[in-house]
Symmetry: C2
Subunit: 334 residues, 2 copies
């Protein structure tokens, strides 16, 4: 399990033990199931789906299902794969929007096949997900995933609207990442509960767990942009920054930094496509103010809130898995 | 009704009389219903939806429903709007893929707001359609529209695969346009039948009517690329050609033309971005071989096939509307 590979020195949680086989099935589906009339779709979609991600969304769905007593059938596997399909569809379109060259340590689909085909493969993955959802025939499941998808798109648009602007409030940033990331995390947890016929309070607890976890995840993901090792992250350091995106560490400096440092930041950030030297100056400020640690602190608060929602569940292996996954989000380095 | 505005000298069919009010309701929905958290989505989506198209897909759904005895409620209006939403979503993404500057006589969304936002607004319209479909709660309707969407994407990819190639067979071209256009026409007709609880043979007849009509429509649409008046078509003449796309009139010349003319065509077409002089030479060949009339002849065959499928229905106003719409496809000039 790739997700188990903690940075050396970190404990190696047996997080995913209860869903190890399930995840292997999801992986098989992701590597096989693209079967289209159009050859090129199969090729590009397989390329994207097989670039190993962390598979956090499927893991959330599977663990939530197991936590709520899911036992038989293959629905959980199919729906977990849909969680990853939906995620992959947005990744492809994101890379077009950001004009990104790299994704998960390899050339992005758009840099390899061009924007046109990438738009279409994203569309195809999304349509395919909807098709599978309809085959599943559960309106509540459909609603959970479809609402999340609409929110994701809205989050992406909010991000576009914020790009190149300096005066982003904490609230605006939080709203944007909640839409962009947290609603799908939340939907995956909720769907796990729905297919296990969990009681409404349990379904609600998992929904809120996922939402808070998603916020924490994205705060950390954005903060890692300032510190991560390019080889591990699979994309260049300071990428968001170079694209004119203000995230938590910078919002912090813009509020708490000395006047000259605030001014330096204001001078550099509003434009897209910063030069290397300017990126270096900002990275220096981020270190000086320990802004990444500050962001990690906020993420930790969200992780704690998330975990608190699971208090209604008695201890179990799947519960341990979800709690461990929540902690993992704070220590991961890619 | 814009659709009634025939070129002068043509008869002015009362095609849409039985659905005039319904279409006006659809128009109101299209002009109002975008209600998103993200301001920019509302702005761009409204721009695209309000650029008056021919609304053929909604008209097909409404006429099919009325033909099968649909009476009460608003489902037909809502579903007809979804037909147009799905179409609009593909138009936006198409324009990105083709790098088109104009659509329906106005700047395209991508030329006005950039590719990034246009990708997202297409995604939003599609997700919104799916959300409305789920609210409608009819699995058969969902399946019809979702299958059509997947096929549309496949058709677009086939078109991408063919771009810049000369040796396109009639069969490949037909398969591509069937996916790209005809399946959605067909789905609209089928959905009209489904919501009216039509008998299976009536639903099937309408499904086939729509499929043949869609093929005829796209053959004509592609042929109009060689002859239409830019002001009426809303996009430059010879656009497909300039983008390296072989359509029926050229396939015809490549098969039936003199050797030197075939060679001229082969020399010019495989590359994208033809020069004006080269486009003019090809337009001359198209005239010389009356290739557009030939394409119109094939389209007419499909229209006749389409109409034959309606023979199981007794005469009625909605039937007259569908038959008239089929004929309109052959005489329209935009």
């Amino acid at each position: 399990m790739r997700i188990l590979k903690e940075p050396s020195g970190e404990p190696n949680y047996p997080l995913l033990h209860p869903i190890e086989e399930d995840l292997a099935c999801v992986e098989r589906i992701l590597s096989q199931e693209i079967d289209s009339q159009a050859q090129l779709i199969c090729q590009v979609a397989s390329y994207v789906l097989q670039s190993k991600g962390k598979r956090i969304r499927p893991a959330l769905l599977l663990l939530s299902a197991r936590l709520c007593g899911y036992r038989d059938g293959l629905r959980h596997i199919r729906l977990a794969s849909i969680g990853e399909y939906l995620h992959a569809a947005t990744l492809i379109h994101d890379d077009i929007i950001d004009d990104s060259d790299m994704r998960r340590g390899r050339p992005s689909a758009n840099s390899r096949w061009g924007n046109g085909l990438s738009v279409l493969v994203g569309d195809y993955l999304y349509s395919q997900s909807v098709k599978h959802l309809i085959e599943d025939e559960d309106l509540e499941v459909m609603r959970a995933f479809t609402d999340a998808t609409l929110r994701m798109v809205e989050g992406e648009v909010m991000q576009q609207e914020m790009t190149g602007k300096v005066d982003i409030s904490y609230e605006d940033y939080l709203k944007m990442i909640t839409h962009k990331t947290a609603f799908l995390f939340s939907a995956c947890c909720r769907v796990g509960a729905i297919i296990s016929e969990a009681t409404p309070d349990r379904a609600e607890a998992l929904t809120r767990f996922g939402l808070n976890l998603g916020v924490a995840f994205q705060i950390m993901d954005d903060a890692l942009d300032f510190v991560a090792d390019e080889g591990k992250l699979g994309k260049p350091v300071g990428k968001d920054l170079a694209e004119g995106r203000i995230t938590f560490p910078l919002i912090y400096i813009l509020e708490k930094g000395s006047r000259p440092d605030q001014e330096l930041l204001r001078r550099h950030t509003p434009g897209r496509r910063l030069q290397e030297r300017q990126v270096a100056e900002i990275l220096f400020l981020v270190k000086k103010y320990q802004a990444v640690d500050w962001a990690r602190g906020i993420a930790q608060d969200y992780v704690e809130k998330a975990k608190a929602h699971l208090s209604i569940f008695p201890p179990s292996e799947p519960k341990g898995g979800l709690l461990g996954l929540a902690d993992y989000i704070l220590v991961r380095d890619r």
